[in-house]
Amino acid sequence: MNRFAELLDRLVLTPSRNGKLTLLTDYFRSVEDPDRGLALAAITGDLSIAAVKPAMLRTLVVERMDPVLFGYSYDYVGDLAETVSLVWPQSPLDIANHAPTLAEVVAKLQAASRSDGPQVLARLLDSASTSARFAIIKLVTGGLRIGVSARLAKQALADFGKVDIAEIEELWHGLTPPYAALFAWLEGKAEKPRKTALALFRPVMLSNAVGDGDLEKLDPADYAAEWKWDGIRVQAVCEGGIRRLYSRTGDDVSGAFPDLAEAMDFSGALDGELLVGDPRQATGTFSDLQQRLNRKSVSPKIQQQYPAFMRCYDALQIGDEDVRGLPFRERRGRLEAFVRTLDPSRFDLSPLVEFTTWQALEELRRKPLHPVIEGVMLKRWDSPYVAGRPKGPWFKWKRDPHTVDAVLMYAQRGHGKRSSFYSDYTFGVWSGPEGSEELVPVGKAYFGFTDEELRQIDKYVRDNTIERFGPVRSVRADRRHGLVLEVAFEGLNRSTRHKSGVAMRFPRISRLRWDKPAAEADRIETLQALLDS
């Protein structure tokens, strides 16, 4: 348990992806079964333990200490799980006796009934170290929140076993904690586990962005073009009565889209884009789609208002036949016939875009016919469906980003290599009537600039600081004085959380406008106009 607790403590404070991978692979290497597999399940969200409510946690702790002292402590720390882990009274004897393993903790928690759950938890906390108490509380309150996605955990497994992540993803849903067979294979001690479960995820095929000069070398006749829809990539798999909707990284998202899952009445595996609306009438915008994202449960009202559907663009399996090896032209033909048999309110076909020359396609790309189109996709007619991101068969050719000239307002220090640099920038645009304009923050960006530019901005921040709050500096920014940043972004969403009312998607610094006076930066109305279009 202590090693798992230490892993969590380190992961939560390690910002870099590579650092997290090192910590995870070291853990898998040094910890034995079944603890490492249970830790993996806890991180990927596949460990089921009956939940304990925060109120119960509080009750348990004030049975053991003065409520006033607990109150002072909680006020100071701010986080209930952490406060309880720190103040839980323990006798040194308990620890000396035996520090429980993760497997023992999980077994006790899983065996606990609703009524004796709190007491089981209390006994575990009695026997654990401070860090371990925090980890146990995190396990029972659900959600580790350590900044590690299931995808990253799978990447760590791939690194650990020196295999491709696609192999892990393909197996994943057929495996269950504590994954002993998986670890045995990754350590070279056993054969690769066989796929026995139904409706497994198939690793997806990804595209490369069209780079400078890429197209000149290619013959338009070799490629099909489709609109690139700005939804979320999904894979719908139905096999032997099992239906699953997967995200592009292999997470099962069926629960979030019960309306679509309900309509998955076929046998096969389809690749496509999840969007909202009724495909026969209108496709919703990305803002509409957001109403369906990141929700634990979806009310019938939301389902009705923003129905989910799938715009299909590839077939991986039709009936019992794996069609991934066929050329795209043939898969496309099979897909067209297949989609015709599905519920038309939930499934439609991503239309092909006719073109003969790259110039003609460029015209179409610049003026897409729907706001939820973010460019075009190019797919080689003769390419099979392969996992990963091979260079050549698939390209994405995105619409040019929007840009806005904004003024630097706050800068925050980065991490790792950037820990002595102010590298995260909050910027704003002007708002308010003429003569009394004010900057209103519209976004935050921390990349897009070169190392040299970073040094220049860092110097600017240090020379123009007007206030400091911990790692954040407030930078002088008024009509006569300020650094203008050209910010590129992919789109805007309405936001009730930001004062400006807008939230940028994928903002990055595209140019430093040392030449531009701060007063000439853009106004909020420029962004608002983009929202309404």
Binding site: E6, D9, R10, V12, L13, T14, P15, G19, T22, L23, D26, M65, D66, V68, L69, F70, Y72, S73, Y76, V77, G78, D79, E82, T83, L86, V87, T130, R413, H415, G416, K417, S419, S420, F421, G470, P471
Partner: protein
């Protein structure tokens, strides 16, 4: 006599009227008794200063020789009479030279702890519990959430991390007086023999520790002139925490920010400060040490100062011990 007639707070600091002296005054005064060398307790500009020889030496290193009009070294355990008040200095276990000050007059005995800790520390004399009527305790970590784990565990985590991330420089933030040298000593105690690189701000004090017989091993300046940038890969560099946000830190390849402090117990504190590897190493007492020490002194009354006074006062109430906060101003806990 009443305890509050023997010692009470004034804007300058804790004052003793019958002896006409202040303990750790924050403004220049005629006569100052100083517990230890941290800058919020030991200030320059007093007419006369009494402290342990080591504290006087440290003040000289920090402020220059003319830091006070006259100085008098107090020998630990020896009683000195000041205007009829019996004064003695006793080890506090906080940093090198740190002392508690015991003040006795007409049958009343008060001990001002200054800052203190009970954990073992090879760089200073261990704390000596003293029987007294009133014990003035610090409360820097005066909340039940603060438990300092054994320092050896924390150092083991630092070494493990240098093995896990051999390409990165481990920058350990530690205050220049006390904490930095303790971290060096702890590294040596577990057999770490490589040179430890230090920021210039630590040089004089670390040299002084070595001259006092505390072996810190090979210390080298963390300057680029000593080698190429890559030379610091896998190295341990110790410096004052403020230096890590500074351009100074740029000479190291992909630095891992570590911070040795009792505050590192709280995850959010570590996270806000951009600390990747928190090391819970403190020169102050944690909650259990504070409460155990209060009981050990047998004091009937506890005065609580600089820190989270209200929790410790509450604890005393629950234990049936009279307690009140002193509300001294001007102490910022340089030492952690």
């Amino acid at each position: 006599m009443r305890a509050s007639d023997l010692l009470h707070p004034r804007p300058e600091g804790l004052y003793c009227p019958p002896g006409d002296f202040f303990i750790d005054p924050v403004r220049p005064v005629n006569r100052a008794l100083i517990t230890h060398g941290h800058s919020d307790h030991a200030r320059s500009g007093h007419r006369s200063v009494m402290a342990t020889q080591q504290t006087l030496d440290i003040m000289g290193l920090r402020y220059g020789e003319g830091f006070a009009g006259t100085t008098q070294a107090a020998v630990l355990g020896e009683t000195i009479a000041l205007g009829g008040v019996a004064v003695s200095f006793h080890p506090a276990g906080h940093v090198l030279g740190s002392a508690q000050i015991k003040v006795a007059h007409q049958g009343t005995c008060i001990v001002a702890s200054g800052d203190y800790k009970r954990q073992k520390d090879a760089t200073c004399e261990p704390f000596e519990p003293l029987k007294c009527d009133v014990f003035i305790t610090e409360a820097t970590f005066g909340l039940p959430v603060f438990h300092h784990p054994p320092d050896s565990e924390e150092i083991a985590r630092l070494l493990k991390s240098t093995e896990q991330f051999p390409e990165r420089t481990h920058l350990v933030g530690a205050y220049a007086l006390g904490k930095a040298q303790r971290v060096m000593r702890l590294l040596r105690d577990v057999g770490y023999e490589k040179p430890i690189y230090i920021h210039g701000a630590l040089a004089k004090l670390s040299e002084y520790y070595q001259s006092q017989g505390i072996d810190l091993g090979t210390l080298e300046p963390a300057t680029v002139e000593t080698g190429q940038k890559g030379d610091f890969a896998g190295a341990i560099v110790i410096g004052p925490p403020s230096a890590f946000a500074d351009r100074w830190a740029r000479r190291f390849p992909d630095p891992m920010s570590c911070f040795a402090s009792g505050w590192m117990r709280i995850r959010q504190r570590a996270k806000q400060g951009g600390v990747e590897l928190p090391l819970i190493i403190s020169d102050h007492s944690d909650w259990d040490e504070l409460t155990a020490t209060i009981k050990e002194t047998g004091a009937e009354e506890i005065w609580v100062t600089h820190g989270r006074e209200e929790a410790l006062v509450r604890w005393c109430e629950l234990e049936g011990i009279a307690a009140r906060p002193l509300h001294l101003v001007g102490y910022e806990d340089e030492g952690d």
